[in-house]
Amino acid sequence: TTTETSPAAESTGDKPVYVFLPKSLNNPYWVDARKGMEDEAAKLGVTAKFLGPDTDDAAAQVAIFDSILATKPAGIAISPNDPASVLDNIAKATAAGIPVIAWDGPVPNSDVLGYIGTDNVAAGVQAGEALAKSVGNKGKVAVVIGSLSAVNLNQRLEGVKKALAKHPDIQLVATEVSGESVATAQTASETILQANPDLAGFIGIGGSDLPGIAGALKSADKCGTVKAVGFDVVPQGVEGMNNGCVDALISQKPFGMTAQALQILVDFHNKSSKLEKDFVVDTGVVTVTPDTLAEFQKTAH
């Protein structure tokens, strides 16, 4: 169950080590991301590490970034908790000749070589559209969000609101925070259901939110009646979909994203990359519905 493809304290003298800096660790989304990285590393025969703070935390992530710079890795992929906070370290890494790419979330106005990932606003728009579709373009909807201050979640929220704005008969009646905790997400969803007996649908923005929403719908016996849309195809989301509690999942394909990102880093390290500075690789967002779930699961990994 170790993270790296290499034993813990191996000497990293000559062999290149690639480092991925996720926003956090304790979220199933990052499990898929890590597996993608590990599989690709095994394929390419390189060492790759997955190092992040326990929970989303910009300062802690920067501290890890700081420390990892000292080890002179062969390449870094960063999914920033806050883009502005990593500018300094990216500049230092670049100055030290370490290629850095942004992955999962962009770092505008920085020295990163480019970005691979999705557009969170676009993903939000897709989620909003999926919800609008499933509630029949009308009714009250509510949002549960992991954190009010996480940049990526706010971008998704922005997209969701953008999409919903196109549907005048849809009302956003509540936005509650879960603190990235399934328990709190479920509690908040349960309470929202109490306060809005005629709710038509939910969107869970963060990784822990949809599982909480699905649990709340199940315990209130409202699966199917109240629609639920969320991000990331995590096990509980799949389970919810199988139970009829979840109607759509927006996948950012974390597995493929990291695999591709590692390939890009290795190419940069070997100076064989054909990508230009400020490249953008959009890995795309997929809306998974109960009909397309089986197909998606076959192709995802």
Partner: protein, 348 residues
Amino acid sequence: MTSNGEIVKQETHGASSTNQLAPAIARTTLGQKTRKTLRKIVTARESTLAAVVILLVVYLSWASPYFFTAGNLTVVGRQIGLALIISVGMTFVILIGGIDLSVGSVVAFVSVLTGVFIVNLGISPIVAVLLALVGGAVVGLVNGSINAFMGIPSFVVTLGMLAVARGLSLGITSGSTISGFPSEFLFIGQGAYLGIPIPVWVAAIVAIAAHLVLTRTTFGRHVYFVGSNEEAAKLSGIRVRRVKISVFVIASTLAAVSGILETARLSVGQPAAGNGYELLAIGAAVIGGASLFGGVGGILGTALGTSLLLLIQNALILLGISAYWQQVFSGVIIVGAVALNMWRKQRN
């Protein structure tokens, strides 16, 4: 849970500061007795806090048509229940003048253990639950033993355990969650008996038992004594170490109980569970009148503190307060409630 009067009456043994002493004369008529009981309730340490909680409930019933519905009460009840189980354990630790920062991590650890046992290893739920409880108890045993035998402050010991237990949960699962529990297991978190959610039953039983233990048994008295003056307790022949270790085992085991129920409620074993629960539990006990210096506090106060904290959360959502400002309200209400309680106490 139980009638208010009952608990208050017993509570005053604990460590109250009511100075209204009835004369030693034994000839009390029935009327006098009732009046005495009434006065005890009104002047009890927790009465103002109870009044605040009741007022909050009354206000919410008036302000939101959704508050006093069976559905919402079930929702709030379950939340209070899950939190109360942990807070009760924390109260024991606080009473001896200690602190247990590891309860939240124990919730995560037990959540993961339950998942591994039931889903990955296919052990029967009952056995798995028992094993997970043992896991929780062992954490407490380690906490308590290090604290009692090495004399390391409980804050440090349990801060270390906070990291260790969380790290184990992360390490065991590599960060992923475990789902796929059988429905008979999920029942203990999601089901109800006589219309009342199982976690509420469990919490009620735990709280009443803990209350009786603390007020009626020698062990309970010794907990207060150790917290009030450890040196004196030792000199009085109390086995202080044993009391300390027991108390940490109780706290961890109750955190484990809550962790198992929460796992069942959420249908998922997850290493991220229980984050920050320690602050909630300590807060509940302290708001309920427990002193972090030990020797003062009780289950009734803790129950009120827990209820207050979770009712506020429920209220802010029901009343549609913007999520961006909710914390400001909740902070002010908490301090306000305790200030009222203090002010009443000082005036007495």
